[in-house]
């Protein structure tokens, strides 16, 4: 969210050479099948010594969801009239202040929606987390659940229990922030 929000703002407001091309490129990166990236990603993480670390998993999730966040946030910013930033700048703001005091507070519901979606997606992300982490310290819950698949037998009961427990945080988030999720997925502020 920290990277995606400013990026979305930039894509919605400022014109720079090849801006649309860059935006499409950002989205294209996400279209690449993640499975094809797992092996190179593993090698990169080995090189940087980030295997079995939370950082390694975080970087993977940033790669996976940043384009989505940029896309969602850009759409939110587009719904805000540009006159608002301009009024703020005439009123005495720098461009950064105009963003902080005026544009960002207005887009807060969108920001919340983006945050929640990213959380939900990251929470249940399996492939990259499974590749990068093998010890219990860095493991994410979906990966840990997979531990119940043993060499000779599968402990279905324990696995089901773990899965249910792992769903609880997501379920709570969905229940409490339903409105924002809908807003985030439909890409506009309504009501």
């Amino acid at each position: 969210m920290l990277l995606g929000t400013p990026a979305g703002y930039v894509f919605s407001r400022f014109r720079f050479p090849f801006d649309n091309a860059v935006f499409v490129f950002v989205l294209f990166m996400r279209l690449f099948p993640p499975i094809g990236l797992v092996t190179p990603y593993y090698q990169i993480m080995t090189t940087f010594g980030l295997l079995n670390t939370k950082i390694g998993i975080i970087i993977a999730n940033v790669y996976l969801w940043l384009p989505l966040v940029i896309y969602i946030m850009r759409n939110f910013f587009i719904t805000i009239p540009q006159a608002l930033d301009e009024a703020a700048r005439v009123d005495g703001c720098t461009k950064v202040q105009a963003f902080r005091h005026v544009v960002f507070p207005v887009v807060l519901p969108g920001f919340a929606a983006g945050t929640i979606l990213t959380f939900l997606y990251s929470w249940r992300e399996f492939l990259f987390a499974f590749t990068v982490s093998t010890d219990l310290d860095s493991m994410t819950i979906p990966v840990a659940t997979f531990l119940f698949v043993g060499d000779v037998s599968i402990d279905w009961a324990a696995m089901a229990a773990a899965a249910i427990v792992s769903v609880i945080p997501s379920a709570l988030v969905v229940i409490f922030f339903q409105r924002y999720i809908v807003v985030g997925l439909t890409g506009g502020l309504k009501g």
Partner: protein, 397 residues
């Protein structure tokens, strides 16, 4: 119009005459703005605006008036030229450094802030102490009559109230310059007239230099000390409203200012026996004074004659009979009663079948003319205008 468009003043010359400059609140020197796709929005606009003046930029959509305003605010950087506010060249500065306040077409109120926070924002961002803000807030709210609304949010306000809040946000700062970008165009007709009057009163009280952009000529005429008529990115005329109406600089201004618009006729002129113009189904003999000013421009055969609808009258209502050279026989197509007068859509009697020959005459309400009649219209030949058909210049101004 000559005293308002000045030659570009060099910086040296400016330093030599500080007393002249003190009175000047805003000066634009040859502003040009070309957008990325080679669209010329503003082309060499120069203007000098004096302290306390209310200037209205008016013109059709896309004439560059809004771009000019945004350039003054610093929201656009001019491709060429300089913006000078209170003697200081602010061309490269950020909007916040220019000490101007702007009211936007859609008000641009901050939806997440209350009215109070909206109005206080320009002072808060400049780190004024709370006590000073509260004091200014009260003054501003009283001035605009919005004291009861201070704790509401913009979404809960009517259009007129939002408009007032936007004004409040501009006034509270006591800026060097007020900029208005079509502030009334989102209001309904009745409220627009009311706010127009209020803006007028407000300017009388606050007395700040204001630049106001509109496409509505009524706003331009009623609010301004001087009107700047723009077309295709260029200034056409800068003059007080009466002058713009009575002595339009060219055919564009003549056709743009005035409602219903001026009628134009392609005519040929003969000067053998006074100035006589013929064409478009009408024939007029013009006063001697017109002939004199016409000959200053060199005699020419083809002219464009401009007659305002108001210069016509139903000849049947005139006290004395109307001479041949000062009237038009016309066939009435449509009568539009407007209350105090009637607008007639007419065609010259001998051009009844030509739609292109149609023109508008505004006659007294007492006229008995109905659609289908042929009537005689008297023409006030002192009030006609002659334009150069090639350049559009007014040959009599």
């Amino acid at each position: 119009m000559s005293d308002t468009i000045e030659d570009p003043v060099t910086e040296d010359a400016q330093r030599d005459r500080p007393t002249d400059d003190r009175d000047v609140s805003l000066r634009l020197d040859g502003i040009a703005k070309v957008f990325a796709d080679d669209v010329v929005a503003v082309d060499d606009v120069s203007l000098t605006i004096h302290d306390g003046e209310f200037i209205v930029l008016v013109g059709p959509s896309g004439c560059g008036k809004t771009t000019t305003l945004r350039t003054i605010a610093g929201l656009e950087q001019p491709t060429e030229g300089r913006v000078v506010i209170d003697g200081e060249d602010v061309s490269g500065q950020d909007p916040r450094e220019r000490d101007v306040a702007m009211v936007f077409q859609n008000y641009a109120l901050y939806p997440h802030k209350t009215v109070r926070e909206n109005i206080a924002f320009p002072l808060e961002i400049r780190k004024f102490p709370d006590g000073v803000i509260a004091e200014h807030m009260q003054e501003t709210a009283e001035l605009l009559g919005i004291s009861e609304l201070l704790d509401r949010r913009p979404a809960d306000l009517s259009g007129g109230q939002q408009q007032r809040v936007a004004l409040g946000r501009a006034i509270i700062r006591d800026p060097k310059l007020f900029l208005f970008d079509e502030p009334l165009s989102n209001l309904d007709a009745k409220l627009r007239i009311q706010m127009r009057t209020e803006l007028n009163k407000l300017h009388d009280r606050v007395g700040k230099t204001s630049v106001y952009v509109t496409h509505d000529q009524v706003e331009a005429m009623t609010l301004s000390d001087r009107v700047v008529v723009m077309n295709n990115g260029a200034v056409q005329q800068v003059d007080p409203p009466e002058v713009v109406y009575d002595q339009p600089a060219n055919r564009f201004v003549a056709g743009f200012i005035g409602e219903p618009p001026m009628n134009f006729f392609d005519v040929s002129a003969t000067t053998a026996d006074g100035v006589r113009v013929t064409g478009g189904g009408i024939e007029l003999r013009l006063p001697a004074a017109i002939g004199e000013s016409l000959s200053e421009h060199g005699d020419r055969e083809r002219l464009e004659l401009g007659v305002r609808p108001e210069a016509f009258e139903d000849a049947a209502l005139a006290d004395e009979s109307v001479a041949d050279g000062r009237s038009v026989d016309a066939h009435v197509m449509v009568v539009e009663p407007m209350g105090p007068y009637k607008d007639l859509a007419v065609r010259p009697a001998d051009r009844e079948d030509e739609q292109a020959a149609e023109f508008t005459a505004r006659v007294s309400n007492d006229t008995g003319a109905i659609a289908g009649d042929t009537i005689r219209l008297a023409v006030d030949t002192d009030e006609v205008h002659l334009f150069d058909p090639a350049t559009g210049d007014n040959l009599l101004a």
